[in-house]
């Protein structure tokens, strides 16, 4: 079934079978909003792979998936889209193939290139929400600046070891410069020491995907002006006030 068919059913107050378990949470109106939404996912690795899977199942109508990288063996421990079959394949291309298997309502646009200053405006313009699933602090800061400039909300997450953080950056709120000192010289965080185990990106990505759903449907409260920090080693879950 194509997205137009699902939208036509929803317009008549009927619920497409595949979205029945969504409706109690987001309602028919929420499902319609998701199907009409356009989301850019920047990075299709540990965070991105899970976010893409969840948003495809939830029924987000259009996803632009941006990643110039290809899968390698070190991705297999945590990246949902990395399988023995997809080794060496471009991450964005693998992601769009996966979405096509999961939900044919969802249109995808694979961009097999790294996000940078030159392609930022072209790739992000017209999106309703941008997802930060990068692994470079330098490019996260660039993505945040561009999202705020284009007045598009940004769902951010990052992980390392047992630790992760999730937050939503609004166009007028505090940006990632409150979270990362750009003067530190390093492009990476403590993940260079702690690594990236299997469950941490999935946990952060699930909350990040939920932020996207809340932004698109207008339901609930996003983690904006705040940062959810978790450390599952010590069962710490804290909301940090960024203003």
């Amino acid at each position: 079934m194509a997205r137009e068919d699902s939208l036509a059913l929803l317009a008549r107050g009927e619920i497409p079978e595949r979205y029945k378990r969504n409706i109690g949470t987001i309602g028919i109106d929420g499902q319609k909003r998701l199907l009409k939404a356009r989301v850019a996912i920047v990075g299709a690795g540990g965070l991105g792979g899970t976010i893409i899977e969840l948003l495809a199942r939830q029924g987000v109508g259009f996803m632009r998936i941006i990643d110039g990288d290809s899968f390698t063996l070190v991705n297999l421990n945590r990246q949902l889209l990395a399988t023995e079959r997809t080794m060496g394949m471009n991450k964005a291309a693998v992601a769009t193939a996966r979405v096509a298997e999961v939900n044919s309502d969802v249109e995808t646009h694979a961009v097999p290139a790294m996000f940078n200053e030159d392609n930022a405006v072209e790739l992000l313009s017209g999106m309703d929400v941008i997802v930060d699933a990068l692994d470079s602090i330098k490019y996260r800061l660039l993505l945040c600046r561009m999202a705020q400039k284009l007045k598009i909300p940004l769902a951010h997450a990052a992980i390392a070891g047992f630790t992760g953080q999730v937050g939503t950056i609004l166009p007028t709120g505090p940006g990632l410069e409150k979270i990362y000192k750009s003067t530190s010289g390093s492009d990476k965080g403590i993940e260079t020491v702690l690594g990236n185990p299997a469950a941490t990106p999935a946990l952060a990505a699930a909350i990040q995907a939920q932020e996207v759903v809340k932004l698109l449907t207008g339901i609930g409260e996003t983690i904006s002006h705040k940062l959810l920090y978790f450390d599952t080693e010590l069962n710490i879950y804290e909301l940090l006030n960024l203003v």
Binding site: G189, L227, Y229
Partner: protein, 78 residues
């Protein structure tokens, strides 16, 4: 005055005596967050988020008796 310092993730290595990364640090009146960070032995360059009583604050924030200082390193993996 006494400041409660909470160290997160890799910064906990500077609090070997307190497994959960919570320390009580005595510093002179008028001390700044940066002074406490130096006393604990943390490299200020490693601190990306600095919270005082739950509010994001700068390194030169002047502290008061009983303040809670939270120090977070950069988490950047994806």
């Amino acid at each position: 005055m006494r400041i409660e310092v909470r160290l997160y993730a890799t910064l906990r290595q500077h609090a070997l005596s307190a497994a959960e990364g919570v320390l009580a640090v005595d510093v002179p009146e008028g001390s700044k967050a940066a002074d406490v960070i130096a006393k604990v032995g943390v490299n200020a360059d490693e601190v990306h988020i600095l919270m005082v009583n739950g509010v994001s604050s700068p390194l030169n924030q002047v502290l008061a008796e009983g303040d809670r200082l939270g120090l977070f390193p950069a988490v950047g993996g994806g």
